[in-house]
Subunit: 423 residues, 2 copies
């Protein structure tokens, strides 16, 4: 199996290194030798670091090379990455990619092309690093159908939330540390804004429910607004705050959300610490399954890329998303706000008579009923936090109530609303 690698960053280097170090055993597993015949990068210095018979600065040349399989590690939703993947498939080559943005946006089209050409298109490394969640959804957990997938899919966010909890420090402070440690990018928006999780979730949704990846129907909320106070209240109620990607089958359609959620302490997802990733799959009669491992980094990601290469070499070249691309349905999205859950609500209010009655009144008008409440910080004249856990309620009702409440002169900051995910 002749391999060409495009994009010679950390992961590309890791793939080449691991194929070198473990090539003999991997070749036995693959039933054929695995050989890197070409590398491709625009950066001459990077190319110089690689020992390969052919070095290209142009993806077209790589796509026209003698490689049987192209590893796409360029990244990016549009541009060079999908151009290379299309060119490679059209040239009759298999493709392995770690590119979640491209697969979330163009996955259905690329899958159809791959299947039309009778070639494999694999993307284990695009979701949750080394955890074999793509393969498990595609090949193992699908027999009885799947009702829900919930995952901690972004190590940066989980690291920040874990550190905020451990130290009591603010989001901004912890983010700066994470950047200094290399756990967060200089521009952290794709991570902390939830976009990266949304890419991964769209792929899991496709695999779990047999639909085309549909990034646009993912409701996305990041972790910027989570305060140390929220985390401390969560602990009081017996919960931890995690940024989850959630995909659920509901009667109204498929509900896909990325949002901070209260996860019950002591459950598997709540115990996913630091930069780790974790995924819960509700597989109907087969029961729930939980997977945990390193979600990023050179070796976990290279492991996923190489596992895909070995699989393809061994002839495991079935449908890209488990079902033939022609049979993937268009995703029928649940309307925004149709999700039902208990919610954590936090209001920052002036400590004046009647403010609680005012809030409670608006909630009641929207049929939001309260299970428990904590009020804290009552020093005369100071701002007060009122925190409530609701009974199960429609998201749109809670949002409606909060909209009205936030207009009150006594409410001095936008209310915070976090679903209780494992109640």
């Amino acid at each position: 199996m002749k391999i060409g690698i495009a994009g010679l960053g950390t992961v590309g280097g890791g793939v080449a290194k691991a194929l070198g170090a473990h090539g003999e055993l991997l070749g036995l597993r693959a039933s054929t030798p695995l050989e890197v015949v070409a590398v491709c990068d625009r950066d001459a210095d990077k190319r110089a670091q690689f020992d390969a018979p052919q070095k290209f600065d142009d993806i077209k040349a790589l796509a026209a090379s003698n490689a049987d399989l192209i590893v796409e590690l360029i990244g990016g939703e549009n541009g060079a990455a999908p151009m290379l993947v299309e060119a490679a498939l059209n040239a009759g080559k298999h493709v392995v990619t770690a590119n979640k943005a491209m697969m979330a946006r163009h996955g259905a089209r690329l899958a159809a092309l791959a299947e039309q050409k009778g070639r494999a298109l694999r993307f284990e490394a695009a979701v949750a690093g080394g955890i074999p969640i793509v393969k498990s959804l595609r090949e193992s957990l699908m027999v009885y159908g799947i009702s829900a997938v919930r995952g901690i899919l972004n190590g940066t966010c989980n690291y920040i939330l874990t550190q905020m909890e451990a130290t009591g420090r603010s989001f901004e402070d912890v983010l700066k540390d994470a950047q200094a440690l290399g756990y967060a990018e200089a521009d952290p928006e794709l991570d902390v804004g939830g976009g990266d999780t949304a890419h991964k979730l769209a792929l899991l949704t496709s695999l779990a429910f047999g639909v085309k990846p549909d990034l646009d129907s993912v409701a996305v909320q990041g972790i910027r607004n989570i305060t140390p106070e929220d985390i401390s209240f969560a602990r009081e109620f017996g919960y931890r705050i995690k940024l989850l990607g959630i995909a659920k089958k509901t009667q109204a359609g498929i509900d896909q959300r990325v949002q901070p959620a209260m996860v019950k302490a002591g459950t598997a997802l709540a115990d996913v610490e630091g930069v780790l990733n974790g995924v819960v799959v509700n597989a109907n009669e087969a029961g729930p399954f939980f997977f945990e491992g390193r979600g990023a980094g050179e070796c976990p990601t290279a492991n996923a890329v190489i596992a895909d290469i070995v699989d393809i070499a061994r002839g495991n070249t079935g449908s890209v998303f488990g079902l033939p691309a022609d049979n993937l349905l268009a995703l029928s999205a649940a309307p925004t706000g149709s999700a039902s859950s208990a919610y954590y609500l936090r209001f920052q209010v002036l400590d004046v008579p009647g403010v609680l009655a005012e809030i409670a009144g608006h909630l009641a008008k929207w049929r939001v009923s309260i299970e428990s409440m904590i009020q804290r910080g009552r020093a005369p004249g100071e701002a007060v936090s009122i925190v409530m856990i609701t009974h199960e309620t429609k998201a749109s009702d809670v949002a409606g109530a909060l909209d009205t409440i936030s207009q009150s002169a006594n409410v001095i900051a936008p209310p915070c609303m976090i679903p209780m995910e494992s109640k």
Copy 2:
């Protein structure tokens, strides 16, 4: 793909039912219709419950039928099960089995036969029910090699230990309840004696380390001697007692053990509750991975069987244990007692002067040093429990010390020794 099912018990029924209920989607996933063309059982009443074109009471007839793939659910290390598997492979049929005893004992030979015949032999259902641990070890986690696998692989034992902890009741009492609830067999020995875990461990060891399954080199200890007192001491030290199957690469060879172990509270394995199974895989540079799910029962097991069928139908028919059978090495077992660990030790002693000095003296002679100690129950004249946690020590040294100590007239019961697995 024409399927023949042998052994029409709970799982066989589940497989037929699920293929009926979900056949259309599964056929799309398999790229070919999946059709049960034959069933086989010695029991005419069971055969009568199935709707299949051909019904056999004889495995030879099934092996000679027009089925392309035989599902072996007869069970048993020897006898009909391996006879059927051999006959089916020799007749050019693929085989899917849930038979851990057969695969642990005859796996290497059957794998060689399957590969010689160019047919698949799959056994996902033999280990940890619905958890795709066989596939993950074979196809996903192997790139950087594996240094250790630790698993809770027997739901009956985990249920009993969880219940003993929750209720403070004795092993015998909880076992009776488990039998009444159907969580334990009338003859529970295979479960509580550790034999079932040993079968599964031998298979995981083979997949993880590229060796032939070697059941005879698994050191096996069950949970009969665990007392509520041990469980309560464990909690005091911040641990929980779990029956683990452990396979580790050591300098002295591969160390395979089934034994009750102290697992640090709050870690993933410690939190595996009730009848669930959980497996930790240490995959070197790719990091540790954790898998949790239902390890037994109709639907989780049928899920694993059908996932194997779909995989084979799709053409994923590589080596049975990941490496070609000819390349599987004979397992080089670490000598008994060569394992190194911290240990929990419990001594039941008479409350007489000098007994602690006596025990401490023997431990010192065997170079066993103590990290912490609890002594409890000191009512004059009563038996006393002395509990210690050692520093890391060779198992054979601890065993040597315990052997001497147990001969003392002041020691009134065999000492208990449990390794601290996640210290």
